[in-house]
Symmetry: C2
Subunit: 213 residues, 2 copies
Amino acid sequence: MPEGLVTFPKATISRFPLYFRVLTEYNHQNIALVSSEEMAQKVGVTPSQLRKDLSYFGSLGIRGAGYDVAYLLTKIKEILGMDRKRRLGIIGAGKLGMALAGYSGLKQHGLEVSALFDTDQAKWGAINEQLTVFPLSELAVQRERLGLEIAVLTVPKVAAQRVAELAVEAGFAALWNFAPVRLEVPPEIIVQYEDIVVGILTLSHHLARKLGT
Amino acid sequence: MPEGLVTFPKATISRFPLYFRVLTEYNHQNIALVSSEEMAQKVGVTPSQLRKDLSYFGSLGIRGAGYDVAYLLTKIKEILGMDRKRRLGIIGAGKLGMALAGYSGLKQHGLEVSALFDTDQAKWGAINEQLTVFPLSELAVQRERLGLEIAVLTVPKVAAQRVAELAVEAGFAALWNFAPVRLEVPPEIIVQYEDIVVGILTLSHHLARKLGT
DNA sequence: TTGAGATTGTGAAATTAATCACAAGGGGAG
DNA sequence: CTCCCCTTGTGATTAATTTCACAATCTCAA
């Protein structure tokens, strides 16, 4: 399989974090080898889908035996870019921004919140030993100094587009946007949208259907 | 188009909350009529996809003119089950649970957090005039009394399965699960998973690809 | 009332994703 | 070393989703 030429469904990548989690569990339980059947069952996908997903990234298993947990784990880390630490700058030190800064799930996946930014002067300064809220004007300087790659947008909807532009100008390569608006940014910028309302309204729709509204 | 027999892509429903948002904006701006072209552009989909999505729910537009904003808005509310209030009970009054309880985005979409539940006695009692944290043992009683339909699971991973079972026993029809585990529940129970780590790791993968890890 | 211009609604075609089914190996017993 | 059993890896097939392209039909102006 020639590297770099393979194309695969977009959904494939979004299943890798799930694979990563169950593999981590197997690892904790000192299970060395696991079959696609076993693992797929736990994740909630079909075994053939799991095998197909993995096959896009090479021949990662052992025929007749299964998958080596430790090996697959390092491979998935590589695929997800978790083989080195990535630093985040959170823009918008409100409730959501602060909650994310304190969320341990990020660090567990190699993602480190290294700075916060806010326009509100009252919020500037150190939060604890590791973390400081900077004025938005220091975005470029601190990005450079701290090696930030990803800007997390936790600002109000109306500010999001402007803040996105500032982040791009400041040299961020990727945006993780929590504001419920589509951002207009140059095509080379990676944008991931996070929208909790989509999930609950999807649920609400199913509920309405089930109950006859 | 015979009601109830139409099938449509799962992704269709997840685009409706986005349509709802831009329509709300048009409404605020007192724009009465909007074309699929205009609206699709704002949402970030193709016009034909927007038209197709809407077509699954009837003939909602006006040929030669576009879509009536107010009418489409009420239709979408109907489709998403937002035409009446839905009440949520949050199980797990930790940081995430409390943050959700205070999140205005829910109420704006007709979703009302009406109670919280926790095993920790120290958390029991009123939070404010409207909201109280109850012991988990009151799940069934309070669900009945307050008319709760959706259980929001904001408990630690290890507790999630057990809590899901309690919620089902207590009569909840739907679960909105923030714990990073697959839940085993009866098939008639509606489950929506919310997993922030999937989003950021997808982004991390793209970043790794772009930068060559 | 008529006709030009616009935009929807929707079958058909194209594309993308998931599943199937089995050939290709690797492991382990004897 | 050989053979049998097991599970992966993957073309081929089927299914799902999106896009296309144009007929249907509504609006508006004269």
